[in-house]
């Protein structure tokens, strides 16, 4: 089996090695299609209010022009008002790696808030996979090397948030949002990198205008053949993070 595979690599032109089997491409293209469908829905939702708001602003402008066509204007950008649409954060939590027990995970993320309901973000995180039940029961015979147990995952995701407020007391009120997030990226584990789709929900609490605390639950799905035949594995991650807007 292994010899055949080696021949495949050597005989096939280098870049044709890319093509994957039917099962995997069907799964992945479905995943990708749903990603874009979700993105399209998010965009439609978040801009539905934008069109009407824009028309009224336009009407106002034309009124101004009637009053004084030669009016001098100053651009609000000239005043260097602090624009805080980017968020940078670190997080830690628990990842449940299918077949390989649970472990602590940590990472960092960069978020860009496109508008009041939509944000996109890049995540990079890592963990160290534990032992399979087989390894524990057989008492020895490690399945992977220490290096292969390094679990690195990263993704680009898009989220739609539902804004809200949290009233702790009458006067202690925090702005919050609950969001649904979906994305795609890769997982480097067991010596290979795999295309990984992810989806989840989260809750963000703004302690101040620029400091936030957030809780995420995400499911990372990819095809793996580390344990025998190829299957899709679900790795669920719970994280708590803190971030700064700048």
């Amino acid at each position: 089996m292994q010899n055949n595979s080696v021949k495949l690599i050597n005989e096939k032109p280098l870049l044709k090695v890319l093509s994957s089997d039917a099962y995997s491409s069907a799964f992945l293209s479905t995943a990708l299609f749903s990603l874009f469908a979700a993105l399209a829905v998010c965009l439609l939702f978040s801009f539905s209010g934008y069109a009407t708001a824009n028309t009224s602003a336009f009407a106002q402008d034309s009124d101004d022009v009637q009053i004084d066509p030669n009016i001098s204007r100053r651009d609000i950008d000239e005043f260097d008002i602090d624009s805080e649409n980017i968020e940078i954060g670190v997080y830690a939590g628990i990842i449940s790696i299918e077949d390989f027990s649970s472990d602590i995970t940590a990472g960092a993320r960069l978020t860009y808030h496109v508008n009041e309901n939509l944000f996109i973000e890049a995540n990079y995180a890592q963990a160290t996979a534990g032992e399979t039940s087989f390894e524990i029961l057989s008492g020895g015979l490690p399945f992977l090397t220490e290096e292969q147990r390094e679990y690195i995952y990263y993704d680009l995701s898009v989220a739609y948030n539902f804004n809200g407020e949290l009233f702790l007391t009458d006067s202690l009120v925090f702005n919050t949002d609950f969001f649904i997030i979906i994305g795609a990226g890769a997982t480097d584990f067991g010596g290979d990198e795999r295309f990984t789709a992810n989806a989840g929900v989260g809750y963000r609490l703004l302690v101040t205008d620029y400091l936030s605390v957030r809780f995420d639950v995400r499911d990372y799905v990819f095809n793996s053949d580390i344990i025998g035949p190829e299957k899709s594995v679900h790795n669920v991650v719970f994280t708590l993070s803190t971030s700064f807007f700048f």
């Binding site: 292994q2 595979s5 495949l8 690599i9 280098l14 870049l15 044709k16 090695v17 890319l18 093509s19 994957s20 995997s24 491409s25 293209s29 995943a31 990708l32 990603l35 874009f36 965009l43 708001a53 824009n54 009224s56 602003a57 106002q60 009016i71 001098s72 204007r73 100053r74 609000i76 950008d77 005043f79 008002i81 602090d82 624009s83 805080e84 649409n85 940078i88 670190v90 940590a106 990472g107 960092a108 496109v114 508008n115 009041e116 890592q126 160290t128 390094e150 804004n163 407020e165 009120v173 795609a184 890769a186 010596g191 290979d192 990198e193 795999r194 295309f195 205008d209 700064f244 700048f246």
Partner: protein, 253 residues
């Protein structure tokens, strides 16, 4: 051990970055404005869903402190803080009577953009691929772009990076076609279960030609679709051609 080292590096970088970006925050300007509309609604947060809890009346002077996603944080002379929309800010003037203009990701801003960041998904030769790119819009027609794509197949994982020039033919159109030419490198690493020796990364440089279109959607978002033809320069007799189809979004600054 390696895990904790990387983690500490990551935390250090994030803290350093937040410090670098947080320090100019203290020096950012605040500006005093006077309301010219009959009234302006003040929301408790930077989104239309947050309740209106205060109203700025005509002639009232207030301070603008910061901006987030098209909302401006204001403080009244009595110390009440809240958020108003960018459209409402256009109905104010400077204390000396000068009119102000608010830029908020309109089509006009899009035409004057300098930077774009894009994320795309698609296929390279039937393998699912994702790609990120950063673009410097040099002139109205010309842009310089750096792209990184990753295609993870069942037999190999492939990383492609490239630098390219993009020529936009009709930059003023809402849907605008473009042509791109570039060069870069393809790295292919066979799956670990296919090769006994393990990490055999192969590199080959490539040329690419791209044809696509971008569509100004709304706010700061641009939708982009593209075909790229990649010609890999291998050390064998024949060159190899790859087809890449991508669809994605860009935000501009």
């Amino acid at each position: 051990m390696q895990f904790s080292l990387r983690l500490y590096t990551l935390v250090f970088v994030v803290l350093a970055l937040s410090h670098v970006f947080a320090s100019p925050l203290a020096h950012a300007d605040e500006v005093d404005l006077r309301v010219t509309a009959p009234f302006i609604n003040v929301h408790s947060g930077p989104a239309s869903e947050f309740p209106i809890f205060h109203v700025l009346s005509e002639g009232e002077v207030f301070t603008v402190k910061k901006e987030r996603t098209g909302w401006y944080k204001v403080e009244t002379k009595k110390g009440i803080e809240g958020w108003i929309r960018a459209q409402d800010l256009a109905q104010t003037q400077l204390v000396d009577g000068t009119e102000i203009q608010v830029n908020n990701g309109s089509f006009e801003d899009y035409l004057e953009r300098t930077w774009e960041i894009s994320a795309q998904g698609g296929v390279i030769d039937k393998t699912t691929a994702i790609s990120v790119s950063g673009t410097w819009v040099w002139t109205k027609n010309l842009a310089v772009e750096a792209t990184f794509s990753q295609a993870l197949g069942n037999f190999a994982d492939n990383k492609v990076w490239s630098v390219r020039m993009r020529q936009t033919f009709f930059p003023d159109w809402r849907v605008s076609p473009y042509l791109a030419l570039g060069t870069g490198e393809i790295r292919t690493k066979p799956r670990s279960n296919l090769v006994q020796s393990g990490d055999e990364v192969r590199k080959s440089s490539h040329y690419e030609v791209g044809i696509g279109a971008q569509y100004y959607f709304a706010s700061q978002v641009v939708v982009r679709a593209e075909y790229r033809g990649l010609l890999a320069l291998t050390d064998r007799d024949e060159q190899e051609r790859l087809d890449q189809w991508m669809l994605g979004v860009s935000v501009f600054f």
